[in-house]
Symmetry: C2
Subunit: 230 residues, 2 copies
DNA sequence: ATCAGTGTTGACCAACTGGTCAAGATTTAT
DNA sequence: ATAAATCTTGACCAGTTGGTCAACACTGAT
């Protein structure tokens, strides 16, 4: 971290409280912001952008509304921050395509990760869905740039698999849509699924079962080699 | 038109205006209600329940807000009416399971119908999705009664196919979820799909292509007999 | 003509919303 | 200690919302 321990010790020790104080301040700020962001994610996902009120979010975070507006000047800024978070998480998961040249490996891994995200970040998924359903008033630029590029490059990869005879000739685009819709369904429609599950959230083994079924049907559905259709 | 012209002419002529006036009144009422309902469906699907304002709906229907409240006393009543509509449409489509004993026929037909609905009633699908994502505050009873019964009975049918070896042993529940999610995705995420389609809605042939791909992957995915996996 | 029932609407209101602000509390640096 | 910087918050405001209402218009029956 610091290159020269001896000479700059004083400097360091003098800086250390500074760092501490900074980190404390930053810590307070970071902590509060995190509280608010978590509360906001929950509220936005449950009520949508319009349905959510800054008062609800403030209550959820345990701070007065005025304090929320100290950290996040407007409701829209808060919302954007959350959208950014979600999108970066999704993009991270999408690297499975690059790390595996084998379609079975690549798709299995991708589906696994997307299912995991649906379980660990259901709020984010729902906020995204809400945004799209409202015509993406805030994230339209994402759709037209990052998402479009990502999609096209993965379509090319899938088409490559088809050309090499590794999977059946399906339309790569619709294969992607299927993976997106199915995996996100377990987050977006969790309430419906839970209700049909007797009112209880899926257990870990039930999640595993869901994941296996999704992978089985999709991989078999595209005739991916290495998968036995029993 | 009128059976006995001579004798009851007076009676008929006295009733006819009555019927006319009734049908005219009813016609006015029906027409206005329909206008408002259609506008409301659009607005609710785009902005969600909270985001939608009665003013927007009134504007969309081309009536003053006060007139809207003459026909529908509250925003919630209007919303319920629309939810009812959607649910009945979906239930109608779901009869494919009863009309076909062959899994390929039954599932193909069901998927076809659900895709058709996604194209013809995208607003309704989005409103449903919105409701579920908000924890189904209004339609929880539907989920726990009608939908649960419907789901269980179709699960039994699918399990029957498995027992008879007509399809692979998959979890019927997750097969249903997959069909629901994929087909509804084309309505709920239409904006995203359109954007990735160059900003234009899918053409009729593109819809057909989507439908074929969905059916192909799912039917092949469950090893439904009678489907060649080329 | 007149009356009753139905439909129409501008003006209005109480409740709520996102956001502000000034005054004070707390922490850090000197 | 004290000054500077950051954080906290009750009270407040202007704009918007769902819903009301009284006055008016229209239609058809007598």
């Amino acid at each position: 971290m610091s290159g020269n321990e001896t000479i700059q010790k004083s400097t360091i020790s003098s800086t250390e409280p500074d760092i501490q104080s900074n980190s404390l301040k930053a810590g307070i700020r970071q902590k509060k912001e995190l509280q608010i962001l978590e509360a906001a994610e929950k509220v936005f996902s449950e009520f949508g952008y319009h349905g959510a009120t800054t008062q609800m979010i403030a209550d959820g975070a345990g701070v007065p509304k005025a304090n929320l507006h100290y950290y996040f000047p407007t409701k829209l800024v808060l919302y954007r921050r959350i959208i950014d978070q979600i999108f970066s998480i999704w993009l991270d998961a999408a690297q499975s395509f690059d790390e595996n040249s084998d379609p079975v490996q690549a798709l299995s891994s991708y589906i696994d990760k997307k299912m995991q995200i649906s379980r660990s970040h259901p709020h984010g998924s729902r906020i995204w869905a809400n945004e799209i359903m409202q015509g993406a008033p805030i994230i339209q630029d994402y759709l037209e740039t990052t998402l479009r590029e990502w999609t096209n490059s993965r379509i090319a990869i899938i088409q490559g698999w088809i050309d090499r005879g590794l999977i059946d000739p399906v339309d790569p685009r619709h294969l992607l849509y299927m993976i997106w819709s199915v995996t996100q369904h377990y987050a977006d429609f969790a309430h419906q699924i839970d209700t049909l599950n007797g009112g209880k959230p899926l257990s870990t083994s039930q999640w595993g079962n869901a994941c296996e079924n999704v992978k089985k049907i999709i991989l078999a559905g595209i005739g991916a080699k290495g998968v036995d259709i029993k």
